[in-house]
């Protein structure tokens, strides 16, 4: 049989020609149609088959059949595609020929831990294990915790770090964590996401793929009651982007909640998106640590937080937040002042000390004192009367 007569499916003009057995042509064409309709997996399958025009070297989804060997050392290959396995024969005219297409679910196995995905993390006798979550779906359990981790090299490592971070969210305790485990949204990467100079989540491009997958997990979890989306460190970028995708699609996540632990992107932006998604927010939405920018960002979002019905933000938290914001500004200004060393005036030093004092306001007693102090200076009722009279 002459191989030239087989229909060409890829590489007609350049590279190695990939041909197809005539009996497989209808199946292949329906795959192309699905790809043209925009089916993601069909598109990947077509792409992987077309990629054969560049040969078989360096592709991790192509395996050599161990037994079938043809003359001249030509081999028989198995190419794993999403949901399918293609068998490829290397013909003597140095062309590839598709000789079989069978259903097979091993494609995911050929991909190592270099794709963003959802994992189930569970602790058995205090040791954490992760297993991939089927179809990136959140476990159907009331008040399920989903940790959105910062970029890491390995899901196991990310799970151990995240197990330490998520207990900082007000609703999660060790009890639930060690009993039910949590779902981990893993983003592969060598360095952390976000930071002072990449504070706008919308401008971080590397994590968009990860955010797409998280958005899928979030949308598919919308019927699960009370899911808690907790990001840690740079995971806030992924969460913010995923929330933006869902807002654009018009998805509502009633009864879900979100929390940011030490966000490395703007928590204020995340608050706005969370409101648009109808998330129910606790009084405390983010732990920004010592981040000045984070504190300011949260303080700016305070007005809309107070006004939104599904947000349990209140006056006392508002005072604490704004105080922290002011404290951080004062610290920064004061430190800058003392560093410049104007010498003659002691004012910057005073501001610096006051800044440091208010900085440590996270301890409960200081907050209480400061709050009471603040109330005597200007009580909410006085402020309201003042506003009314001005209007």
């Amino acid at each position: 049989m002459n191989a030239i007569e087989f229909p060409v499916i890829a590489g007609g003009q350049a590279g190695k020609t990939v041909r197809c057995n005539p009996d497989l042509l209808p199946a292949y064409q329906s795959l192309v149609e699905a790809a043209n309709r925009g089916n993601h997996w069909a598109r990947i399958a077509i792409k992987e088959l077309s990629a054969l025009t560049t040969g078989v070297i360096g592709k991790d989804n192509i395996y050599v059949h161990p037994l079938r060997k043809y003359s001249q050392g030509l081999r028989h290959y198995h190419v794993f595609l999403p949901g399918l396995k293609a068998e490829i024969r290397h013909d003597s005219n140095d062309q590839f020929r598709l000789i079989a297409l069978t259903l097979d679910a091993n494609y995911e196995k050929t991909k190592p831990n270099n794709t963003p995905a959802l994992y189930r993390a569970s602790a058995v006798r205090r040791q954490w294990t992760t297993t991939p979550a089927p179809d990136n779906r959140v476990k159907n359990l009331r008040d399920r915790v989903v940790a959105i981790a910062d970029a890491d090299a390995h899901p196991q490592k990310a799970a151990i770090v995240a197990s330490g971070s998520v207990t900082n969210a007000s609703e999660v305790g060790e009890r639930t964590l060690y009993r039910d485990g949590f779902d981990l949204h893993f983003t592969p990467g060598a360095s952390r996401i976000g930071g002072l100079f990449k504070y706008d989540a919308a401008k971080i491009k590397d994590t968009l793929g990860s955010a797409m997958i998280l958005a899928h997990s979030m949308a598919s979890a919308k019927d699960i009651e009370g899911v808690q989306w907790i990001s840690e460190f740079g995971g806030s970028a992924v969460l913010t982007q995923a929330m933006k995708i869902l807002v654009d699609r018009g998805v509502k996540l009633n009864s879900h909640t979100a929390y940011l632990y030490r966000p490395r992107t703007s928590p204020g932006d995340a608050v706005k998106l969370a409101h648009q998604l109808n998330l129910t927010l606790n009084k405390k939405f983010a732990d920004v640590g010592l981040s000045l920018r984070g504190g300011l960002s949260l303080a700016r979002a305070a007005g809309s937080r107070k006004a939104t019905e599904s947000d349990f933000y209140n006056g006392s938290q508002h005072f604490e937040d704004s105080l922290q914001g002011v404290g951080k500004v004062a610290t920064a200004a004061g430190l800058a002042g003392t560093l410049i060393g104007t010498g003659g005036s002691a004012a910057p030093l005073v501001i610096a000390i006051s800044g440091v004092l208010t900085q440590s306001s996270s301890s409960a007693s200081t907050i209480l004192n400061a709050y009471q102090m603040g109330r005597t200076v200007i009580s909410p009722t006085v402020a309201r009367k003042k506003r009314l009279s001005e209007a």
């Binding site: 999403p82 196995k109 190592p112 991939p132 490592k157 197990s163």
Partner: protein, 293 residues
Amino acid sequence: MLQALKYLPYGTRRSDKYCKPQGPSIEDAKSYSYIVADNVLSLKAPKHRPMGNVPKPLFSRAKGNELEWGFMPHSKDAMPDQSWSYRSLFFAQWAFWGPWLSGCKAELSASVSLLTRSEGNEYKHSSLFHPKVFESAIVDFLNSSYGHLETQLGEALYKAPVNWHTGNKGVLSAGFDIIKNETSGSYDEPTRVYILPIAENHLVLVELREYIYSWNENNLPSFDRAPIEAVKDSFVDGLSIELGQKSLKSLNTAKRESDSFQLTENFAPLKWPNKTTSPVSEEDSQGARLLSL
């Protein structure tokens, strides 16, 4: 001094080049002992030193008898039939660092726990010192904790026991590996398990679990694993057990009652997954996958 500088616990120049990482110092291992009924369990372990500041260690709990302070049931996820309860005695984790700031290559965590049958599931009129009872207890425990887990393709997620060998600690004891079927690559990430009876109804379970963080292009650990194995070996070697009068008596009874007081030489991996519900046939699930294309 140079060694200390060479293996600083930081990773600014991360790379997956081949190297020999340095783990915790085995020579400086500290001893811990626990009283279980009238027996004493002692172990030796290096100082807890994970990669970051999590997880937190666990060294000692009760001043006196551990059995007086209660057991925890396993979660329904970890063990659907909840037939065993556990009590954690020891937990520590150690990082293995590459030379010249090349990053953390792997971590090893050690967990020692007491196991007992949960209420209503007790073995009647039998002692775990008896070899046949001990063997069947191991089978029960493995079936309950790993038998139900399967991959997305419906295969068993774990394979155990592998590399079965018997130990000698004064009582019957056994060591083996648990292998995860679905890992990131061709490497199995074995969890070393060592198990021995300490009282008529209580087992000691040692789990040494490794987390590999550095892979080469063949999906194998990119470094020399010998230091990890060394820590595993020294941990198992450092384990010792001293039986009290009552336990010695029941051990001698078990010796008298059994024809040959020893465990089986070979132990093939158990047949998993345990299907409890009728599974969807292969064709059906494949049909569903085709439709979703």
